[in-house]
């Protein structure tokens, strides 16, 4: 019997008209130019503190991008970003400290380890959803923190670990400027990779999972596998962020990876706009700046987060990304599109 359908070819089904190569890749070229300028200028123009803040911004952007996939796109309410960040940080730190593994080699191991743990936790999401998944993953984070505190022999317990400054082949990355030069390409590649994923077949499946699990199953795509892939990707981003965090700060302890980190990231993707990559990037950056700005004022951070969420949910629920796209759509030049 013949099949009823041929695969949908982009040329026939896509609504986008044919564009020149330059127009098609313009956003990528612009992003590349901005990154190149940042890469060249920032270490020369900014202070160590400002570069340190930029490094933390990149950590939080990676964390927000991963969390955004799971919560914003696939709508799996998993609340263990803090724990995943901690796994990446501790794996990278312990590899360097206990086994003498160079920082650049500890990075991929941290990424793989965090991916594996996150993928394993996704098995819970095969059965539990909504509030149950939120509570179970919250519990996972608490247990993880408990283990960090009590496994003194490995983690040095609540006293934490002084992480050695990264060095590779005789080159030290101790200065924030050197770390920035190392981090920026990694972050750029990770974000670009996410963009490619999100606009491809896997990205469509991820969005479809968030919209209707039963419809996804009805077209022969396994929602459970899609969940595991989403969790694994989140783990990869959090693992990379964790290893970078340990290197940037130089010290880690169990209390750096609790529910507070998860809630901060949740606020970041809410402010940026659930489901939007640009929103996750902007939200991660904005929340880092807020945190740095009010870090010496006890309690103010939580108030600012609360106010930010109130303003977003009452004023523009689609977040900063939604606000931007709404304005762009309302411009006369776009009205006829």
């Amino acid at each position: 019997m013949r099949s009823v359908v041929e695969p949908l070819s982009p040329s026939k089904a896509g609504a986008a008209p044919h564009k020149s190569i330059l127009a098609r890749y313009r956003p990528w070229l612009v992003a590349l130019a901005v990154l190149a300028a940042l890469f060249a200028a920032a270490p020369r123009l900014l202070s160590d503190y400002q570069l340190y803040t930029l490094n933390l911004i990149q950590v939080n952007i990676l964390l927000a991008v991963g969390l955004n996939l799971v919560i914003g796109v696939t709508r799996q309410f998993a609340l263990f970003s803090g724990a995943l960040l901690g796994i990446g940080a501790y794996v990278a730190a312990l590899l360097q400290m206990r086994l003498g593994v160079p920082f650049l080699l500890s990075l991929p191991v941290a990424v793989l380890a965090t991916m594996a743990v996150s993928a394993a936790v996704s098995l819970v999401a095969w059965r539990a959803g909504g509030l149950y998944l939120a509570m179970i993953t919250f519990g996972f984070g608490e247990v993880f923190q408990f283990i960090l505190v009590h496994a003194d022999a490995i983690t040095n317990g609540p006293d934490g670990l002084a992480v050695p400054r990264p060095a590779f082949a005789g080159v030290s990355f101790a200065a924030p400027a050197r770390l920035f030069e190392l981090f920026l390409p990694l972050t750029a590649i990770a974000v670009a990779g996410y963009r490619l994923m999100e606009t491809g077949s896997l990205g469509r499946t991820m969005t479809a999972l968030g919209d209707s699990e039963i419809a996804l199953a009805s077209v022969g795509r396994d929602p459970r596998m899609a969940k595991t892939i989403a969790f694994a990707i989140q783990g990869a981003y959090a693992g990379l962020a964790g290893a970078m965090f340990a290197a940037a700060v130089g010290f880690i302890d169990p209390y750096s990876f609790g529910l507070g980190v998860t809630l901060q990231q949740l606020t970041a993707i809410a402010v940026g706009g659930f489901g939007s990559l640009a929103g996750a990037v902007v939200g991660g950056a904005v929340l880092t700046l807020i945190e740095r700005g009010v870090m010496d004022l006890p309690g103010v951070r939580e108030i600012v987060y609360g106010l930010a969420l109130l303003v977003v949910f009452l004023g523009f629920p689609a977040g900063l990304a939604g606000l931007f796209s709404r304005r762009r759509a309302s411009r006369p030049a776009d009205a006829g599109r």
């Binding site: 013949r2 359908v5 695969p7 089904a13 199953a217 077209v219 795509r221």
Partner: protein, 244 residues
């Protein structure tokens, strides 16, 4: 020749409630079969069983030579069973084109490509629109296009004409007749639009309280006194009645 879909002695129980009792139904290749009956008759439960969303309590289902009944929805879909839902289940944030793309199987060739499917169901020009922004009737049509994009052997449609305008119903009927005729696809549809059932379907099965009360050609079953009493209402003329 054995039927494409063969259902024998199927029962489904929800606790003490018999949703479907001892159902028998056969559907051949290229045949369009209507499953009709009042709300709560068990029609959607049958669709759910065939597509793997509801396990059977008893009985047997076969698609060609393969046993169904205890499959997962994913496995059922991969065996060639596509479906729509009583309440449209679209990928709302994806575009119309992407809804069909998610369902498309790579490497298969056939009569239509996904873009043509979208045109055939009457959604031409809406490929880039987010599915959630479509009108209710358009969402139903998109579900049909998406189900066809799965390249199925058996198509299960749960009230595909609900909320559609007359023109859309006529277009849908032409499309279903065409794919059944040209591709040998079996189609089982739950439908309350009696006019459509009479015009489109080769066979009809009427259910009431989980039991089959009549089966045969649409004209015959719709004039069956038991069907008139249970489904259409004793006073109503079958051609006029259109329960919702």
């Amino acid at each position: 020749m054995s039927p494409l879909l063969d259902i024998r002695g199927v029962s489904v129980r929800f606790g003490g409630l018999a949703a479907v009792s001892d159902l028998a139904l056969a559907l051949g290749q290229g045949e369009i079969h209507a499953l009709i009956g009042p709300n709560g008759a068990g029609k959607s439960t049958v669709i759910n069983c065939i597509s793997g969303f509801q396990p059977l309590s008893a009985g047997e289902m076969r698609l060609g030579d393969e046993r169904l009944g205890q499959l997962t929805p994913v496995t059922a879909a991969r065996k060639g069973i596509a479906r729509t839902f009583q309440t449209p289940q679209l990928f709302g944030r994806l575009s119309v084109a992407d809804n069909v793309r998610v369902a498309s199987r790579s490497g298969r060739t056939g009569l239509f490509d996904g873009g043509e499917l979208i045109e055939l169901v009457g959604l031409a020009g809406l490929q880039a629109r987010a599915a959630e922004s479509l009108a209710y009737g358009q969402q139903r049509l998109l579900e049909v296009a998406r189900a066809l994009a799965c390249a199925p052997r058996l198509l299960l449609l749960d009230e595909p004409a609900a909320g559609l305008a007359a023109d859309d119903i006529a277009r849908l009927a032409r499309l279903l007749r065409r794919i059944a005729g040209e591709l040998g696809l079996g189609i089982l549809l739950v439908e309350h639009n009696v006019g459509l059932v009479k015009r489109l379907c080769d066979q009809a099965t009427v259910m009431h309280h989980g039991l089959v009360i009549a089966s045969g050609s649409p004209a015959a079953v719709l004039s069956d006194p038991a069907v008139v009493t249970a489904y259409l209402g004793a006073q109503a003329s079958p051609s006029q009645a259109r329960p919702c």
